[in-house]
Symmetry: C2
Subunit: 394 residues, 2 copies
């Protein structure tokens, strides 16, 4: 009679379920004693020993400490750890100008990462797919073991049902089955999980970052566009088709400027890159990313013009945050992208703007900077990959 | 080894857990054969027989059909049903002008309901509390059995932690521990559950109404104010303090009119009673409820002036709906209050307004009328009461 015994399952299915439970625990909590694994799963000592044996055999976990069944006084307990040198996932973050790639061990450690310039073709994803294949091969080649799974963060809508990137406006992608294309070219049979970058960054914050202890959190990140990810009841909100969290397309200024999405007055048009840059007099820059980088550098050295731009952006940023707080009642609101800089440099003004707009002080509006910067997407992709691996574990 | 066996529980606790599982099933699914109960819970035939025996003894369930352990051909199976004449909850819906009260049997049937004029004192809840006590006594007195629990829907913020009504602007209540006040005066020891009326109406729609098969739904109701309730992953969204779903206080018109909440440009100021009434030339009516009733009657007889008012309200209604769809990606959006009339009479215009505003057609915006009208709050209060009863079942 244990939490891990599930009705109507055959022994093989039950064993998989138990292996998954153990691995999930090791991944999220790290090294754990056999005794503790027994407490957590409710499984008997011999079942734990047996399962840990299988995990070790499969290169997924490693055990240290005494192997005597009854450890005497002072004898070290048996500690089970994820074996990250052989059990790792590949995480990829596709952005407009760059592609980030990294190996993340079971347990969540980023073992190494690199970045390449994204060699995009105009509108056609073929060049991107080829480059992804090359980068993934190069990353994996030095290692004897294949990754357990691949996770890829993209700046676009990803349909939950089949992982298809239905729309990635800044990449010019539409209805792209990226996983299928990669699977064919990579000849990789493990799970390939595709996700929206902001949702994945939210997942990383929830599992490993500034939202680790929060069952209900809202994550908002502003860069060129505005993305978000929401955790409710300790789960990443997916919605009915996988698109939940499109906070950038809340309409915060009806009758405002047209948005690239086809709508009008979206939060993204009010606080996105163009809106921010126009505050420092930069209109239609040749390279938005470079212009943003310069602005961010200005913020870091407390350039008065940049700080004034942040100040002027506080009210429109606060409108969207107020909406999210009133709708979700999150324990914490995590700010990513340049909103981290805004909170750091003009946090008081942002909080004041939010207080002036909002009439419901009962709902807490605890604004915090996200723990991870650019890395959040990569770490989130890794988390999604691990989840994909666990779901398909045989 | 069953789904209902839970690690680390003592036999008494396990038995309560199993009783709860059976009762929850009977409440939501109605009459069920013993065989099916076994399949659903994974419990053995003899355990089911034993538990059903206890439920019958406690007046919670009743059994019909053959009692032979091995029923032969053509013999009717043993059917277990909730026993609503002895197992019922009391549901109360407190509104500005009225108090509704009803008995709802385990299984969800509204056995009877009545309505009284709400005799409020100015700002002081004492008169309301006294009236509630009288109404509840009168409702229960004719019956031998006390209710299993009492559920009360209020138009205000209710803190999840302790059930305190922190703010009910239209009633003038603040920090009112209604459950405690009632418990003292009623001398009722069962659970008294307080909830926000719109959240409870959403719960009723999810369990028994137009959202029964929807894991992700948004419910919005417009009356004097605008309320909402959200279901994600098959659970009513509570947020960190219980206030999630304050959709009426999304800011949909920054710089717009002041809202009674203290904010500005809230959706409620844009589409609430005053905004709607002003569309038919009624400004600052002496009785908003009567004025609204007249307007609704006009809609029912397709009064052109009222339909034109609905048409003009479509764009501001659509702004808030667009935000909710983009953030939650719900499978369905259920409209209550006068939004039901709007959808029925000017649904095409509303859908067009929504399509024109929204730039993300990938996210479905399936607008439907809520199944329950005013009764939704009462039925939701009953559902919350049953949940409260099950949670405290000993």
């Amino acid at each position: 009679m244990t939490a891990s015994t599930v009705q109507g399952r055959d022994p093989a299915s039950l064993r998989r379920h138990n292996l998954r439970t153990l691995l999930r625990h090791l991944h999220l909590q790290g090294a754990t004693s056999r005794v503790r694994l027994g407490e957590v799963t409710g499984l008997t000592r011999s079942t734990i020993a047996d399962l840990v044996g299988e995990l070790a055999e499969r290169g997924l976990a490693v055990e240290t400490g005494s192997s005597r069944p009854q450890s005497g006084r002072g004898r070290p307990p048996m500690i089970v750890s994820p074996r990250e040198e052989t059990a790792y996932v590949l995480a990829v973050s596709v952005d407009v100008d760059t592609i980030g790639i990294g190996r993340v061990g079971l347990g969540g450690t980023l073992l190494e990462e690199s970045e390449a310039r994204h060699e995009r073709g105009p509108g056609d994803p073929a060049a991107s797919v080829s480059q992804l294949v090359r980068l993934i091969h190069a990353e994996v080649e030095p290692f004897e073991h294949a990754p357990l799974a691949v996770g890829i963060a993209v700046p676009g809508l990803v349909r939950a049902e089949d992982g298809v990137v239905t729309r990635a406006p800044n990449l010019g992608w539409r209805e792209l089955n990226l996983a299928e294309r990669l699977r064919d070219e990579l000849r990789f049979t493990g799970p390939i999980v595709i996700g929206n970058e902001a949702r994945l960054a939210a997942l990383a914050e929830h599992r490993r970052g500034a939202g680790r202890d929060c069952a209900d959190l809202v994550y908002v990140s502003a860069g060129v566009g505005v993305g978000g990810g929401i955790v409710t009841h300790d789960r990443l909100l997916t919605g009915s088709t996988g698109y939940a969290g499109e906070v950038g397309h809340m309409i915060t200024n009806p009758g405002g400027r047209s948005c690239h999405c086809g709508g009008r007055g979206c939060w993204e048009t009010e606080i996105g890159a163009d809106a921010l840059l126009s505050q420092v007099g930069v209109v239609a820059p040749t390279n938005r990313h470079t212009a943003l980088e310069e602005l961010f550098a200005g913020a870091e050295r407390s350039d008065p013009e940049v700080l004034e731009a942040f100040r002027r952006m506080c009210p429109p940023v606060a409108v969207g945050l107020a909406n999210l707080v009133n709708v979700f009642d999150p324990r914490r609101v995590l700010l990513g992208g340049w909103l981290r800089l805004m909170l750091r440099h003009t946090g008081e003004e942002l909080r004041t703007a939010l207080d002036q707009l909002r009439g419901l002080p009962e709902l807490p509006a605890d604004l915090r900077t996200a723990r991870f910067g650019e890395q959040g997407r990569l770490l989130g992709a890794a988390e999604a990959a691990v989840s994909g691996f666990l779901a398909e574990l045989r």
